[in-house]
Subunit: 423 residues, 2 copies
C-alpha cells in the first residue's frame, strides 16, 4: 500500500475567545507535530475563518516548541478569532466554494474549527460541501464557549475558568462588603456574562459555603425578573446579615421578555442606557430600599482571566484539541470531541465523540432543577455539577509581578491564489 | 523596679478595606502574642472605631493561632471597618472622652489604628486628648490605603495588590480584545479606583511591555480630560494596532472640574447617570468614532482580589503591623511605621517611622513627571517606582477550586460600662 503524502491542517478560532482556547490550539499543534508523517503543517486562519476565506494563513511551524507550549497558559485567541457566521449552504455557496478553493491551494486535508454552536454548524457544512465539490476534507469541531451551552458534551472548555473567576470574585467582594456594611455599602451587585443561559451566574453560587455567605441572590436569564420578590429578598437579607451580595446575569429579562439592561433607563440624549444590568439593579435597590450600593461589571475580565483559570478547564481544553487531531488521524470525520463525566465525586471524566450534525445549532439551557424553587439560588444538584469544573489551579508563569503571556510571530503563508475574496 | 502589669491593646480597622489590611492585623496580633508580659490581650473594635465608641469590643485572644495566621491571606476587614471620621477636638470632645472612658474600662494601654489619612489624624488626636484627660495611651497609626496617597511613606499597604490586579486585568483583557478586534470590539475601557489620585490607573501602565501593548491610553484625575485629544489618540491607536485599550480613573475630571462620571448623562427619571466613568467614555467613543466598545468596572473586585495579591504588598502590610507593636513596646507614641525605599533595582526596603502630626491630613499626589507629556501614559520614572510594588505572588490556599478565607469567631468582650453612646 502506497504511503500517503502528509497533508496540511487548518486550525481556526471562532467567536468570543476564552482564557483557555489557546490551550486547545496548543493541544492541536503539539499533537500534530508528533504525527508529521500524516500532518505536514498546521496552518492557522488569521482572525479565524476570515483568514481562511481571504487566504490569510499563518504558518504555525515557524513557532518554537516553547512558544507553542506557552499557548497553554495564554488567554485570548493567539491567531485572532472572528464573530463571523457563514451563511446556509445555498445562500452562502460562494463562501464555501472559496474555502474549498483555499484548502485545495494549500493542500489542506484537515480542518479543525474551535468554537461554539455556530462553528460546529460551519464545520459540519464544510464537511458536506467538500464531498460535493470533490475535495473531501476531514472536518473536526473543537468545543469552546464560556456560555457552556453546547449539547452532548458535559461541559464546554472555557466555562470552568470563567466560573472560577466569578465565584472567586463574589467571594472576595463579599468579604469586603461584609466588613464595611455598617457604615457604607449594603448592597453589592456583580454582573456576569451569559446572555441566553445562566451557567456563569450560577457559578457565583459556589462561593457560598454556608448560610449567610455571599452571594445571597442570583438572578438568572431563565427566571423572569420579579421586582417585588427581589426587593423583598434584598431587604430581608440586609436586615438579617447586614449586607446583600448579588450576582446578576447580563441576560436577565423582565415580564415583557425584554433585557432588563436595555429596558431601563435612557441617557440625556434619549439613547438607551449605556449598558450593564448591574447598575440598573443597583439603582432599583437604591430607589426602593434606600440602601447604599456598589456594582461591578467584569465584562471581558472574566473570560480572559487566565491568572485564575481552572486546572480542570485547562486540561480539558488541551484534551479536546489533542483528541480532535487523534480523531482525524483515526479516520473520523464531521465529529467533535466531547467531555464525558464518569463520576462527580470523585470527579472523573474522559473524552467522548459527538457527530457535528447532532451538535450544530442545539443550545443547552440550565435545567430548572438546577435553580432553587424561589428562583434566587442554585440547588445541590447544580452545585454537584459545577464544583468539579472549577477545581484546581494552573497559574501562569509570572515575571515582574505580572503573568507572562506569549505573542506568536504569526508569519503569513505565501498566497497561492490570484483571486481575492471579500468576506 | 516594679514590673509593669501587662495592659490590653485596642486594634481597629478604618475606611475602605483592602486585600491586605488583615495581614497588618495579623502582624499586630502575632507580634503582641509574643510579648504577653507587656500586652495582655489585643481587643479589636467591631466595625472599627464604632466598636470602640459603643464598647463593642472583640476578644482576639479567643482566636486560634491558625485563624490569626489565616488573616494574612484573607481580604476584607476581619473585625469590620467603618467610614466614620471623628470630629475636631473641640467639636467632638464627647467622642474622644467616650473613647478614653472605654479605654479606661478595658485597661487599654495601646491603640493601633489601621487606616488612611483621616485615621492617622484621629490616632494623633486620641494621643493628645489622652494626655489632657490624664489617661495617657500609646497611639500608633498603621498605614493602609489602596489610594497610595499617604505622605512620608514610600507607598501604602493595600496599593500594591490593587495595582497588580489592574495591571493583570488590562493585560488579559488586552489579549482578548486584540484577538477579536477585526470583527468585534475595537475599544475597551477599564475603570480603576482612585477618586483623587491616579496611582491605581497609572499601575495599569505596567501591563505594557512593548510598543502597541495594552493599555494604550490612561486617563488620570490629575490631567483635565481633553475630549478631542483623547478621541484623536483613540482613532490613531485603532488604525495602527487594530484596537485600543484604555484605563480610566474614576476621578477623571472635565474642564469645569467636574467628575466626568457625573457630568455626563442622566437616566429617564432625570437622575444623574448611574455611576461609572467607563460607560461614559465608551459611549463617547461610540458616538464620535463609531467603534464598537466594551467596558468593565472592577469596583470592589480590585481591592478585595486577594487571590492575585502582590507578595511585596502582603509582606509590607504584615511588617507595618508588626512594627507598630514594636514601636509601642519600645516607648514610642503618636507615630506610624512607614515604608522606606532603599533602592529600586534591586528593590530593597525597610521600616521607618513618621510622626502622626506630620502624616495627618496630608495627601500625596502623583508627581507630574510620572505622567507622560501628552497626559496619556506613565513615564519610566513612574514605572521604576511602581514595578517593585506588584512583585511576587502570594496565592492564598485553595479548596474546591476557591480561595479559602478565614471567618473569625469575633467573640464580644463583656461590657463594663453602664453608659451607652450613639456614635
Amino acid at each position: 500500500m502506497a504511503r500517503m503524502k502528509p497533508r496540511n491542517a487548518l486550525y481556526a478560532q471562532s467567536g468570543g475567545v476564552t482564557a483557555v482556547i489557546n490551550a486547545s490550539a496548543c493541544g492541536v499543534i503539539e499533537t500534530a507535530r508528533r504525527h508529521k508523517n500524516k500532518i505536514a503543517k498546521v496552518l492557522a486562519g488569521r482572525d479565524g475563518i476570515i483568514g481562511a476565506l481571504t487566504e490569510d494563513l499563518i504558518d504555525t511551524s515557524r513557532e518554537s516548541a516553547s512558544a507553542i507550549r506557552a499557548l497553554r497558559h495564554t488567554p485570548g485567541g493567539a491567531f485572532g478569532s472572528a464573530r463571523y457566521k457563514l451563511k446556509g449552504l445555498e445562500e452562502g455557496r460562494a463562501q464555501y466554494e472559496r474555502l474549498i478553493e483555499v484548502f485545495q491551494a494549500h493542500d489542506i486535508g484537515y480542518f479543525f474549527y474551535n468554537g461554539g454552536g455556530d462553528s460546529q454548524d460551519t464545520a459540519y457544512k464544510v464537511s458536506q460541501i467538500g464531498q460535493k465539490l470533490g475535495y473531501p476534507v476531514v472536518c473536526i469541531g473543537i468545543p469552546k464557549t464560556v456560555d457552556n451551552d453546547l449539547p452532548i458534551t458535559d461541559n464546554c472548555p472555557g466555562f470552568g475558568s470563567v466560573a472560577k473567576y466569578i465565584a472567586t470574585s463574589i467571594r472576595e467582594a463579599g468579604f469586603d462588603v461584609a466588613s464595611m456594611a455598617r457604615t457604607s455599602t449594603k448592597v453589592f451587585v456583580l454582573e456576569a456574562m451569559g446572555r441566553h443561559a445562566g451557567w456563569i451566574a450560577a457559578s457565583g453560587g459556589l462561593a457560598a459555603d454556608g448560610p449567610g455567605d455571599a452571594p445571597h441572590i442570583i438572578l438568572f436569564p431563565e427566571i423572569t425578573f420579579d421586582e417585588q420578590a427581589f426587593l423583598t429578598r434584598v431587604d430581608a437579607t440586609v436586615k438579617r446579615h447586614g449586607y446583600c451580595a448579588i450576582v446578576v446575569s447580563e441576560g436577565l429579562k423582565n415580564q415583557d421578555g425584554k433585557f432588563v439592561a436595555e429596558a431601563g433607563t435612557r441617557d440625556a440624549f434619549g439613547h438607551a442606557q449605556l449598558g450593564g444590568v448591574a447598575p440598573v439593579i443597583a439603582e432599583l435597590v437604591k430607589q426602593r430600599l434606600s440602601y447604599k450600593y456598589h456594582w461591578a461589571v467584569a465584562d471581558y475580565l472574566q473570560r480572559s482571566a487566565r491568572h485564575i483559570a481552572s486546572k480542570t478547564d485547562v486540561e480539558q481544553a488541551y484534551a479536546v484539541g489533542k483528541a480532535a487531531v487523534q480523531f482525524a488521524l483515526n479516520g473520523h470525520n464531521a465529529v467533535m470531541p466531547t467531555i464525558v463525566r464518569i463520576s462527580s465525586k470523585p470527579y472523573k471524566w474522559k473524552i467522548g465523540m459527538a457527530k457535528l450534525a447532532d451538535v450544530a445549532n442545539v443550545e443547552k439551557k440550565m435545567p430548572r432543577d438546577y435553580i432553587t424553587a424561589d428562583g434566587f439560588g442554585i440547588t445541590r444538584k447544580c452545585r454537584t455539577y459545577l464544583e468539579p469544573l472549577i477545581k484546581g489551579e494552573d497559574f501562569p508563569p509570572f515575571r515582574n509581578g505580572l503573568p507572562q503571556y506569549v505573542k506568536l510571530k504569526n508569519v503569513a503563508v505565501k498566497k497561492k491564489l490570484r483571486t481575492r475574496f471579500r468576506p
